[in-house]
Subunit: 206 residues, 2 copies
DNA sequence: CAGGAAACTTGAACAACGTTCAATGAATTT
DNA sequence: AAATTCATTGAACGTTGTTCAAGTTTCCTG
């Protein structure tokens, strides 16, 4: 009896995957605000209301796309972490540049990660929270090499600060609103400031 | 003939001011997404459609509120710039902390500055762009003292980078989504990283 | 001051949105 | 083959921002 239901279940699962893919593409092309359930339904070939059989909310849909984005970002940072020379300083610089490049190449999807706000009463699902926390681990390892005396919590705080600082530079740097900063200049500035931050942190803890 | 029109003009002007004030309060209380024209109209005592006699768009309304927020932020940063001892390093730290405090105390209004996205085809009015560029000047002066050899453009770039880095720490630090960072800890981390950045930048240019 | 012209205000109406749900249709069991 | 259970549909609802013909008020002129 249970095995016989696979027909509809498979169909549903395929549709759900299609839906998330379509949503991803739509956000990439038209931004988070350009995501419309009716267009999605037309895209994957189902009724408007059917979207809510695959996903409870647009919120959930955005979070699912966000999860995919975060995983791709994670891969990009992983690659930057292992590639090249292994001095902790330069590893951190590579990671920062990789973050910048990823944001530039996936602008709307990356923006959606931060632009999206859910209703205050709804809570983030666990899988989404975990996705986000994984990001800091890339910074954590090189930092641990640089500051062997620091505790786990201290390193976590520093990792978060460094990540946030780079994030800020990327976020405001890629903003078209003000003067558009050319990407190469932005990369250079990021590398510069990351090196300065690390130098400063190292000198400061001696 | 022109002087006779003051009756309606005054009324309009008063209404416009009321509208912006009401919008400001509404954003502060309910966030940018909680801003509704019908509620605004009820608040200031006019018809729903009348909002569009005072302002062409909600976009313009948000920008006008943003302008007010930016001016208050400017004052807060000015106060931090002049108060206390005058070593450039500590001045920059004070400015960063002031930025953090302002964001925390004006959370939704400050968020609205960055969350708001206009349709891609519409262009930012000049007054809005100018408002934003003014912010960097607070950082510019202490930086110029620290790096007397640098050109105006170089200083501008560095000022922007520093501002962006602090902005990132504040933005991610005040995000409730992930682990909520207690404000005192955030302030401490910001002060720490700003000092490190400056130390690093100074050491790096020698 | 009268009365027509000009300008302003109004709220009903429109289009677009996310979301719901009775009704239709398909799949599974008996 | 009939009955029952479940999935899908698209029309309908409640909210949005925005528009605009109609109604009011204000203004200028004779």
């Amino acid at each position: 009896m249970w095995l016989r239901m696979t027909k509809t279940l498979e169909r549903r699962e395929k549709l759900r995957v299609d839906l998330i893919r379509a949503a991803e593409q739509m956000i990439a092309e038209r931004g988070l605000a350009g995501l419309k359930t009716r267009d999605l339904a037309r895209e994957i070939g189902c009724a408007n209301g059917a979207v809510y059989n695959l996903v409870t909310d647009v919120d959930e849909l955005v979070l699912r796309v966000g999860s995919r984005t975060l995983h791709r970002l994670d891969e990009a940072l992983s690659a930057a972490e292992s590639a090249g020379e292994s001095s902790p300083q330069e590893t951190l610089v590579r990671i920062a540049i990789a973050y910048c490049d990823f944001a530039a190449e996936n602008l709307e999807l990356w923006r959606a990660l931060f632009e999206h706000r859910m209703a205050a009463d709804k809570v983030l699902p666990d899988w989404s929270v975990n996705d986000q926390l994984q990001l800091f681990r890339h910074i954590y390892h090189p930092l641990a090499q640089l500051f062997p005396k620091r505790s786990q919590e201290e390193l976590g705080v520093t990792a978060r600060s460094l990540f946030s600082a780079v994030h800020g530079m990327v976020a405001l740097g890629l903003e078209q609103r003000l003067v558009a900063v050319p990407l190469p200049a932005l990369r250079k500035e990021i590398a510069n400031l990351v090196r300065a931050m690390i130098d400063g942190l190292v000198a400061r803890t001696k």
